[in-house]
Symmetry: C2
Subunit: 119 residues, 2 copies
């Protein structure tokens, strides 16, 4: 019973890879973009997570390009990585929906007081 799903950096990384294979630095930028600048992965986090995700079989090395001595290692989602992402996203959707509902118009057990106008 391991509770631990794909969260935090790993979730962002898998999402970044969901539409196209990307290399490390590209993932860094994509994660920043899809989190609207809120999350800036450190390279330590990124390459560590990449190794881990690869070890778990959730991603794989698609190909390696060498452009002017600069290597580009492209990663892609594996079928099980796609499945894991889909499952986690499904889970998060229910939580997000529920939290949003409770946040938006919380009756707070009959209380009338509310710290913000209910829009």
């Amino acid at each position: 019973m391991s509770n631990r799903l794909v969260q935090g950096p790993a979730l962002l990384i898998l999402t970044a890879l969901a539409d196209a294979p990307r290399h490390g630095y590209g993932i860094l930028q994509e994660v920043a973009a899809l989190s609207e600048g809120r999350v800036r992965l450190r390279t330590g986090t990124l390459y560590g997570a990449l190794d881990r995700l690869q070890g778990q079989g959730l991603i794989q090395v698609e190909r390696e390009e060498v452009v002017d001595g600069r290597a580009r290692r492209f990663y892609s989602l594996s079928p099980s990585g796609r499945a894991a992402l889909a499952e986690e996203i499904g889970h998060l959707r229910t939580v997000v929906t529920e939290a949003h509902r409770r946040l938006g118009n919380g009756p707070v057990d009959g209380l009338g007081g509310w710290e913000a106008s209910p829009a």
Copy 2:
């Protein structure tokens, strides 16, 4: 630049407290319910997180009841805890939406190949 937002257990706990104050054991049950049984918080995780969240000012002890020698410590969301939850939920919504879009009908950069039928 701390990247670290409210995720994992903390997210579930705050969500569980979003509609009404609850005590530890009640949070355990609520988290299990709103995650549809997928997440069973250990007491070690729960009370550790509770202390941490309280230290961060995101939650507070609402009141303490003693029923038949059994103590019940009720926690409630603080305004900043509510704000933190709202912010994280907003963030997650964009990520979840984007991930879902990429998962559901990913054009994959012009590729026709797709490991599952596009529904």
